[in-house]
Each structure stands twice: as structure tokens, then as C-alpha cells.
């Protein structure tokens, strides 16, 4: 796994590493942060009443990395003390595997929790990543949000969820 704060790869997610990257971002010295909030997305075995067998993720990688950078910049605007590290997996993922890990470090927990929640909401809204669900009886591409990073209403929704 790369040392990049924001990354995409088929490799399993190393949660401890992503946490460490968040706390050491921007050359932050040890002890700058008093909190790291993490979010792990994991593959659920049920969706719309279907028994899910596995998921296949794909990404438009260069744009997805830009989307992650946009999210990181928005977080810097809302919570200047917070630092973000994020790794999203692509490829086939079995039930229970971690598809995404987000770590937000901050001197205090309120900003860390808010930044972490904001990050996953925004990733789901704008990152060009798709999952194909293979379930008992068929398969389907899951289609969620129309990706528009400048959509103010979507940003506001993410912010309200982060602070709710």
C-alpha cells in the first residue's frame, strides 16, 4: 500500500496504516492530535432483500483521487485542524471485507468525528467509484448519486450529517 494520504488499490486495507498516515499528515509532530476517528465501510450480505454473494468495485482512478482531494480541501475549510487519510479498495470484495477506510485526526474529538462523517458522505456523493452486486439470482450495478462536486445542496447535506 502506498504512503499517499488518499489512495485506491485492489490491496486489502491496512487500517492502522491509514490511521498513522492521518496523524502524520502535513509533517504533524507526534502528539499534535488528541483524536482519530475512523470509518470502515464493509461488505454487507443483504441489499434490497437480496442475498449478496460478493461485490466488484471499479473506479475511474485519476478522477476518484481528485474527488478525494476535493473532499480533503472541503474538510480543511470546515475543520482546519483536521487531517484526512482515505483508502478505497477496488476489485472483488467478499462479505465482511473492508471496502473503504477513512481516518480523520484532529487535536480534539469533535472535529475528528465531524470530518470523518463528512468524508464518507462526500465520497458517496462524488467519487467516481461503482459497485456491482452479485447476489443469489443475478447481478446488478448499484447506482446512487449523480456525481457533481459543485452541487451546493449535496455539500450542505453532508455537512449537516457531519454535525448532526
Amino acid at each position: 500500500m502506498s504512503d499517499a494520504l488518499l489512495s485506491i488499490s485492489p490491496e486489502p486495507v491496512d487500517v492502522a496504516r491509514v490511521m498513522r498516515l492521518a496523524t502524520q499528515a502535513d509533517g504533524d509532530p507526534p502528539g499534535r492530535h488528541g483524536a482519530v476517528a475512523t470509518f470502515l465501510g464493509t461488505v454487507r450480505g443483504e441489499h434490497l432483500g437480496r442475498r449478496v454473494l460478493f461485490l466488484e468495485y471499479e473506479a475511474y482512478e485519476p478522477l476518484a483521487l481528485k474527488a478525494f482531494r476535493i473532499v480533503a480541501e472541503e474538510i480543511s475549510g470546515h475543520w482546519p485542524s483536521a487531517r484526512l487519510a482515505l483508502h478505497h479498495r477496488v476489485g472483488r470484495l467478499e462479505l465482511g471485507e473492508v471496502s473503504v477506510v477513512i481516518a480523520a485526526a484532529s487535536p480534539h474529538r469533535a472535529e475528528a468525528f465531524a470530518a470523518c462523517r463528512y468524508a464518507i458522505e462526500r465520497v458517496k456523493q462524488i467519487a467516481p467509484i461503482w459497485k456491482r452486486e452479485v447476489f443469489d439470482g443475478g447481478e446488478a450495478w448499484i447506482e446512487g448519486a449523480t456525481a457533481d462536486p459543485s452541487d451546493a445542496a449535496a455539500k450542505q447535506t453532508a455537512y449537516e450529517r457531519a454535525c448532526g
Partner: protein, 81 residues
Amino acid sequence: MRVTIRLFARLRDLAGAAELLREVPTGATVDTVWQTLAAEFPAMAPYRSSISAAVNADYARLTAVVGEGDEVAFLPPVSGG
């Protein structure tokens, strides 16, 4: 002029290809490219209201003008996380 079209997820399945090279008129917009594609693959047409687009791996509006050799990507609604 010629552009490279990148397709993902269900749009790729509908086209049967992840990448297509197509001729479009000079001054074409992202929407022109989309119309070319939807004419060739009518099953894609209903996606017009829900897609987003990128030109050379940057988010772009349907009204953006494309240039010779540009990579124009069409993104169905996303589902990461």
C-alpha cells in the same frame, strides 16, 4: 476531430467497451459526444438526466467544449463507499 470516450459500470456494459474512439465535429461539447453515443447505443439515452462527465480526468459540464484527442468520460450515478 477524434475523441476518446471512457465508459464505466453499466454504461460500459451497454456499449460492450470501456473505451471508444469517435469522430465529432470541431466545436463539439460534451453533450455532442453524449448524443453521438446515445444514437449508437439507444439503451444509454435514459441516462442523460443522471450522468456526470469528465474531460481529461476533470469533472466537466455537458456544455464544456471538447478538443482534438480529449478523453471524455461518462459517469453513471456513483456508488462508492
